[in-house]
Symmetry: C2
Subunit: 896 residues, 2 copies
């Protein structure tokens, strides 16, 4: 055996005695090689012998070509395999066959593949046929080698069909029909060889050593390929130029009826129950199981057919699970009664299974589990939580007629309606409603409120429809641009859907289906609450999680999901109810101050009732109320509609007034126009009215024995002077509400930080504020100059596709740009006012990567839509652990 040292070797046999557990040497061996080495050298399972060429060597190759001396190292390692198997590579009578497979540190699509059955040529295939006495097996094996060689070494992916050859999958189907002749398989091998020679200009080399080197080189190259690089960029995997390559002796599941191949999970990957499951294929090679070419049998079939082998497999499963301290996915092959383990890794699982297993593995110490609660929390992903929080389609029977952007997860079935009013009427009749619109505006909100699901044909993840639907937990598909809205329905291709027709939608996948799908209800398992409780223990004192909620219903739901308060209670939706919109319009259109005051007074009474309900729902927890924010023209019908009506039917006097207001309030860029505190400056009575309504509600609840905690938030400030002015309105309104001698409730006053200027001038704003709430949605819009309504449809996809942005900055905060402003606002604000509380509200408050950034920036709380609260609780705990891990790593490095 050649002498390797850890530091220098390019090639490691699987059975090599590493100085550290090989499963942790993924950087060097790649994930695949590390797991094989763990099984072969530590667990001593029956793994076909082989070796790994390191990732560093792959990197070396990309930089400087084939390394000097590598041939000799590979040859020596091959000799080791030959010695163990008792066959020789290229032996015309009994050839050693190997697989050659790439494997980076992370599984990376587009990187490499596997060359199978390497070592055959026109001579040794005859030897294989003779030795096994199975010419069909030998030529099928040769054909499979040639197919892989063509694809992976010669880069002829996907072209086999074009030249009359068929893919492995199709071949196999043909193979299922018994009686395929050796001659037919030979002819196919000949056609592969001719095709490769024609396409590449040279024949398939008969020498196995050359086949091996070419295969290794091809896999090395794939690590530098465009698709792999783009994937790593997108997934933020640090660039590691090299891929490892594993060379392993072949074993065959298609050698007899006491042969076969399977993939098993050490427990139930769907439910998390402690029972192995998986699939098995009798008398078939492993590649067919992985490709799921034939209908596989469940693992039980193996138990019934060969209880001895199933028992042996069960012992391997148990050892692996204990060793990895997690559920494993295991690839195995049985060759003529002998069990070989080909691969293992920690297995994918559903949300319910992930939660159940994570919790069980901390609480069953007697069963050999040693994972901590913190480790359990680390194992849960946001997708796991989403999986148990939202309903899903049970299975896909009906065809998908269109796919849009899955904007709010959950599945819904209902009758299609095309206007908010029609939706409300249908809901009043007791029908389940799917609201279908080109886009939604605040005017559609009453229709959304009654809908089971929402579909729009334009807009993206941050469109009005998406934001509102997520906030309310209504499943939504947006930007379904293949739908054409017609006068009384929509069409897509030849299909037309009219008012009242039943459709279904999946707000996670974005799929729209004609007819009623079966829907699996969302029911979080018991482990859900347990695990999130542990996450809260890890998180508490560092980052609070609040919810964005505008109604008592939302507030109650948020509380159920574990929200520690309301971080953003928007008051604008309160104005949109049918009985209030006219009052708000009166205020804006008021001819004189007395009329304005009278209308304000009526609105105050209505708004107080809303606040009373929310205070009850969130009793004892803080509620941050944002004063009216949106541009006023959102409360009027669209100008163009009124202009058209004026030119055709004519307008009533009331409509004429509305048109005048719409014209007067019309803005070219409402996002940058008269909204937020600017409304207060132009209509000073408005904010005072809102504050009075709130304070009166607080006083009433307090009298009733409740413990209301409220904070007032001024939107869109850019100068300290605005905040001073707004505070003066608040102070006056409190005094007016409490009356002489009354005890004023303690109400802290803060500001949104949602313009770049507010972030830059955070220190002077902080002197006037009890808290900051960083509105990262608007801050992102202004920092980039991206109107999310406008750029998410056409521009953002182009930017992401061309790599001009690392990701959609409305989903995950732009660390380098917007993030600097967030950090600056926090730092400057705290420096000027050490008591300042800093929160983040907006979509990013529910995004795990963004939450990690906010933790690092020292933010006190995030606020997100109620359905994202569990995810935020989890993500915060994980981010805090990651930060303290890296801190303690830094500390221990310093100590050294």
């Amino acid at each position: 055996m050649p002498k390797y040292t850890d530091a220098m070797a390019r090639v490691y046999p699987f059975a090599y005695s590493h100085s550290a557990a090989p499963m942790h040497r993924r950087e060097l061996l790649g994930g695949h090689g590390a797991d094989l080495a763990e099984m072969a050298s530590v667990l001593e399972l029956s793994v076909p012998p082989g070796f790994t060429i390191t990732t560093d060597t792959g990197g070396e190759y990309l930089e400087n070509g084939w390394p000097e001396g590598l041939d000799a190292e590979v040859a020596a390692a091959v000799v080791q395999i030959e010695e163990q198997v008792g066959q020789r590579l290229g032996d015309p009578h009994d050839p050693l066959l190997v697989s050659v497979r790439s494997g980076g540190k992370f599984p990376t699509p587009g990187m490499g593949g596997t060359v199978l059955n390497l070592g055959l040529n026109d001579a040794s295939v005859e030897g294989l046929a003779a030795r096994t006495g199975d010419a069909v097996f030998a030529y099928d094996t040769y054909r499979r080698f040639l197919s892989r060689y063509a694809r992976i070494v010669c880069d002829l992916e996907g072209e086999e069909g074009e030249v009359g050859l068929v893919t492995v999958a199709e071949t196999r189907s043909a193979d299922d029909a018994p009686g395929e002749s050796v001659e037919a398989l030979k002819r196919q091998c000949g056609r592969y060889q001719a095709w490769i020679a024609e396409k590449t200009g040279r024949p398939v080399p008969p020498e196995p050593e050359r086949q091996l080197r070419e295969s290794i080189e091809a896999l090395f190259r794939s690590g530098g390929g465009a698709r792999a690089v783009a994937y790593r960029d997108r997934e933020r995997i640090p660039p590691h130029p090299g891929t490892a390559v594993n060379v392993q002796a072949m074993v065959f599941g298609n050698r007899s009826h006491r042969s076969g191949a399977g993939v098993g999970f050490t427990r139930n990957a769907v439910t998390g129950a402690d029972e192995p499951c998986g699939t098995f294929l009798f008398n078939a090679p492993g590649e067919d199981v992985v490709a799921r070419i034939s209908t596989t049998d469940p693992l039980d079939a193996l138990a019934r057919a060969f209880p001895d082998l199933y028992g042996e497999l069960g012992q391997v499963f148990a050892r692996l699970e204990k060793h990895y301290q997690d559920m494993c996915e295991v690839e195995f092959t049985i060759e003529q009664g002998k069990l070989w383990i080909l691969q293992t890794r920690v297995g994918e699982r559903t949300g319910a299974a992930a939660l159940r297993m994570a919790v069980e593995m901390t609480t069953h110490e007697e069963k050999g589990w040693s994972i901590t609660r913190a480790e359990a929390v680390k194992r849960i992903t946001p997708d796991h939580l989403d999986g148990v929080l939202h309903a899903q389609f049970a299975a896909h029977h009906q065809p998908v007629i269109a796919t849009g952007v899955g904007a709010s997860p959950g599945a819904a079935v209902g009758r299609a309606y095309f206007s908010a009013d029609a939706a409300v009427d249908a809901a009043d009749r007791g029908e389940p409603v799917i609201l279908v619109r080109k886009e939604t505006t605040p005017e559609d909100v009453h229709g959304m409120q009654v809908a089971e699901g929402v579909i729009t044909t334009s807009g993206g993840m941050a469109s009005h429809a998406a934001v509102v639907a997520r906030g309310w937990g209504i499943p939504a598909v947006v930007g379904a641009s293949s739908l054409t809205i017609t006068e009384n329905g929509f069409s897509v291709g030849a299909i037309t859907v009219g008012e009242g027709d039943v459709i279904s939608l999946d707000g996670a996948s974005g799929e729209i289906v004609l007819g009623a799908m079966t829907v699996e209800a969302a029911e979080p398992p018991a482990a859900f609450a347990t695990l999130l409780g542990w996450a809260d223990d890890l998180r508490r004192g560092r980052l609070s999680v609040r919810a964005n909620a505008d109604t008592a219903t939302d507030a109650a739901r948020a509380r159920t999901f574990g929200a520690e308060g309301i971080g953003l209670c928007r008051t604008e939706h309160m104005f949109l109810a049918e009985d209030r919109l006219p009052i708000l319009r009166e205020i804006i259109l008021a001819a004189n101050p007395a009329a304005e005051l009278a209308a304000l007074e009526r609105l105050r009474v209505a708004q107080k009732a809303d606040f009373l309900e929310i205070l009850t729902a969130m009793d004892g927890l803080p509620i941050t109320v944002r004063l009216l924010d949106p541009p006023l023209h959102e409360f009027f019908p669209p100008r163009a509609d009124l202009l058209v009506k004026q030119a055709t039917e004519g307008l009533t006097p009331e409509e004429k007034d509305l048109l005048d207001a719409a014209e007067a309030l019309d803005e070219q860029n409402p996002m940058l126009g008269t909204r937020g505190v600017r409304l207060g400056v132009l209509h000073p009575g408005l904010y005072g009215m809102q504050v009075r309504a709130l304070v009166e509600a607080v006083l009433e609840r307090r009298t009733g024995g409740f413990s209301p905690v409220v904070e007032l938030m001024i939107p869109l400030t850019v100068t300290a002077e605005e905040l001073i002015l707004a505070r003066s309105w608040v102070g006056e309104a409190i005094v007016a509400s409490v009356g002489p001698g009354g005890e004023a409730p303690e109400i802290s006053v803060g500001t949104m930080i949602e313009t770049p200027r507010a972030a830059l001038r955070a220190s002077e704003l902080a002197e006037q504020a009890d808290f900051f709430s960083i509105g990262t949605n608007d801050l992102t819009q202004m920092t980039f100059g991206f109107s999310r309504d406008d750029v998410e449809g056409r521009l953002m996809p182009a930017y992401l596709a061309q790599g001009l942005l690392p990701g959609n900055p409305f989903t995950t905060i732009d660390f380098d740009g917007v993030g600097e402003l967030v950090a600056m606002a926090t730092e400057r604000g705290r420096a000027a006012n050490p008591a300042l509380r800093v929160g983040v509200c907006g979509e990013h408050g529910g995004d795990p990567e963004s939450i990690a950034f906010f933790v690092a920036a020292g933010v006190d709380y995030v606020s997100c839509s109620p359905f994202r609260v569990p995810i935020a609780r989890l993500a915060a705990a994980q981010a805090i652990m990651m930060q303290s891990d890296s801190t303690s790593r830094r500390d221990s490095e310093t100590l050294r």
Copy 2:
């Protein structure tokens, strides 16, 4: 005489021997007191004796009330006056009368005023009558005292008319009619006294000491008044809480026919000629001259009537002018043949006079002038230059029918037209045209091009109409909201103006006049070029001045005004010509790439012709060409118009296509939508076409013996990746233009910095850029979240009026917020790329205060509209001097 020390005294006699020239002690004495002291103590002119109570004392009063010991100091100073005049305050037979006048460091409206003739009461008025033998004089003097006392001490401003009393002005007119009886004057005095007693609850105090103290207190208080504070805020005068107060013996110009009062300038304040000028009023008090109550005589009248006094005055003028080294404005009174100098200050002047005097005073050393060229440059203000660059109304005869925002200086007369097409037709007929619109859009540009002047009824200083008009030097009044646009004209009050009616406008004052006004043509005097040449000497090497110019005409004009290149050549206007708009629309509507390419090709040819002309006009100087920037829907008719037409007359197939495009391109916030480099990303051929057109023009001009220097600018970048991509288009287009083997012209490539993110990420952008051009207009919009189109009309005035902003940030850069981003972009960009050139384009590039900021931030050049170039040259020189002044002051302080 009491012992005062400079450091401690609260009261200084005018004749006090200060340790430094009193004219430089304005901080302590106020401007008025400093000049009086200079004249009395240094020049020893015949100034009526008096004293100044310091500004510090005024501040002390505002903080802690009447200072202990001040009464005694005032009493002692009064004694000094009494001794010099030979009269005693309160003497019933021959009372000393004094004036009491406030005066801060800077002249400040709303701050104080003057109480005249203080020292009279019901007894001493009789003494005055007896001593002068003129009871009418005595009671008129008493009445004037009471009127001032009511206004200034009792704060009864403007209420005299209401109670049957009349203002001084009206009294005087009555007085002009001879024969007003003593009895009538006495009755009027009585009514004043009764009114004051009724209003304030107490009578006018008869004791002169009390009158004096009350007057001083009232003037102290006025320095803390709201109006004065608001004024100082607006003008950025550092807050100084205290005002000084001057007490001075009265002299009377209304004592005989060898008496009178006047205001003179030591030279002609209109032309700058070396000849005194001014006005004089025989036998009248000074206050009537200042109030310009009667028709005054020119100063020559004094020369003719009393050559001796005129000669004496001339000597005083000469001494003052030499002493102040500048033209002075002088108030004087002649009392019974004795000349008294009451006040002097450096006088206001027209632009032409300012330039002439500044230049002459450096070049006439033999005449006693010692000012340097640098000092001459410091004396010129931007308004002085504006005054000689733009035509103005000669005089106002016709009434002003409306006043809007003066958005582009200059006067214009022409016939009113209400659409761009009608304007073009009229101009084709040879008529001078005034284009009147609600607002303008790029669709109106052809109408603006032919107009003498532009009026809009909405929008502000940064509206489309204002920006375009300033760029082209067309006089414009915008936001004239009192005009109501009707079907075929406009109305304002009872006046209606129809198509073709003659109107005039003054784009500096914002005035609109019915009929044709006489207009004085703009003709910069010889001194204009001389002085700006000196400014250039001071500026060179520190800050270059370029112009924003899109056409050869603009470029040529800019060059005449001294631009050192084009800092911003927008290419969008090149697409708006009637023959090009359809081609651009074709590109956008193109059904297939071939059609798009064909249209691009046609546009390339047209655009090359534009570039050829500009290259000729700017030969040898750099031209920064910005690739297409605006959202594409600007090139389509408004969506609402098409919708209305569709609903009424119906659309042609072509119009239907336009509507589809308008719908598809419609954006909710176009400012934050698909524009700038984003257009290039979605239509990659567009930028390539522009670059090819430019490169071909460069090659052609170079062949023709010219020296074209061009720079290419990528608009609206937010990431380095965009810039890398855009540079690749530029590189490809250059190669394509030059052809194989051709020598590529050197074209530097830079980027606009106009989003906050670009400023934050300046270092990575700088690695890809040869230069930055900071677009402060858009940067201001996004940093504040202010859409200038939307906020300038209603919101900005409210913000300024309520002190929420120190000034309009679109006029002068917001130092604290946007300014930090400008400095950050410059600093980070230079750190990453030391060769980086940094410029500023946008309105701020022509604003003097902003230019001073840019000089401090280390910017290399500014670019502004051609008409602002002279102002920018001047402002840059002044800013550089100010910076080096403060540096050398800091240095010398360090040395101490």
